[in-house]
């Protein structure tokens, strides 16, 4: 229950930050990406401020043996920079540049019930679902249960391979 409340609170604070920072306005994001136009550095300030906090806080937190409400850290284990990582970033970057919208603001903007955010959000969720449907078909081992490690919540060890 505590973990669910923390997740919910984190989502609320995250939404407040994105909204306050102007990141739910595609024009602001496109203004940042348009370095050859009237460049708008807002996004750099937002990322810089978030990083200023987390570059200091994350290492301090990760010195602990375990998080406050869980028996272990759920951190990415992959370290190799491979074609899948770069290919995914290329596709994401292309979609981000075409729209000025990334996943957090996309989910938030759906709450306006305007046509544009609903269409974008539906397409984004469709793209996510498509990836996992294809992955399940082409890598049957992916869906197979993996032995849970230690005192974890019994989830597949695979989830630790996710960066974000």
């Amino acid at each position: 229950m505590g973990k669910l409340l923390i997740s919910f609170a984190s989502g609320i604070i995250f939404a407040g930050g994105l909204g306050l920072a102007g990141m739910v306005q595609p024009e602001k994001v496109l203004g940042f990406l348009d370095v050859a136009g009237t460049w708008d550095p807002t996004l750099a300030v937002v990322m810089g401020a978030a990083l200023a906090v987390d570059l200091v806080v994350f290492p301090l937190l990760l010195r602990r043996k375990q998080p406050l409400l869980d028996s272990r850290w759920h951190l990415p284990i992959q370290t190799n920079i491979d074609r899948r990582l770069i290919g995914g970033a290329v596709l994401f970057g292309a979609g981000w540049g075409l729209s000025g919208v990334c996943p957090g603001p996309a989910l938030m903007a759906m709450a306006t019930l305007d046509a544009e955010p609903l269409v974008f959000g539906a397409a984004m969720l469709g793209g996510m679902g498509l990836f996992h449907a294809v992955a399940a078909l082409t890598q049957p081992s992916k869906a197979a249960p993996v032995a849970p490690r230690g005192l974890g919540a019994g989830e597949p060890a695979l989830t630790t391979g996710i960066d974000g």
């Binding site: 930050g17 994105l18 810089g48 994350f58 979609g95 544009e116 996510m128 960066d163």
Partner: protein
């Protein structure tokens, strides 16, 4: 209706506070749950049939939406309603963002904030890639087609 985006010291200050809140939200999730606040990963795994740990993911997305609804009520101006592309372009873009973030294991939050904060070379490579590609696409749309 369309306001020319301007970058003033007030905008910079508000953006810095917003960014710090994003940092705090990520630190909260990591400190208590040991999880990375990567939105594409949190949401995307809900659409993966093999995912077992759905509860905290739903709670996070629920919080994001609850925060959004609250903002809509008290500060509707934070939602930019004029800068959106055509529905056709948004459909293509949405599919690319959805598929690409799952293939590349992260987006602006997971790689761009949390990954860089963990000093992950993978996240640095991904962030430089998606920013570079997005910048190139915007350059093409705004400065090559217009002429």
């Amino acid at each position: 209706m369309t306001v020319e985006p301007t970058f003033t010291s007030q905008v910079a200050g508000t953006a810095a506070v917003g960014g710090a809140l994003i940092g705090l939200a990520s630190a909260l999730l990591l400190s208590a749950n040991g999880r990375i606040a990567g939105i594409s990963g949190i949401a995307g795994r809900l659409l993966d049939g093999s995912t077992k740990d759905r509860g905290w993911r739903l709670a996070f997305v629920g919080g994001l939406l609850a925060g959004s609804v609250a903002l809509l009520a008290v500060a509707p101006q934070v939602f930019g309603r004029s800068g959106w592309a055509s529905l056709g372009q948004l459909t293509v873009a949405g599919l690319l963002v959805g598929y690409g973030t799952q293939l590349g294991n992260g987006c602006t939050s997971g790689h761009g904030v949390c990954g860089l904060a963990r000093r992950s070379p993978r996240s640095l490579a991904a962030t430089l890639t998606f920013m570079g590609v997005a910048g190139a696409v915007v350059f093409g749309l705004r400065h090559l087609q217009a002429g």
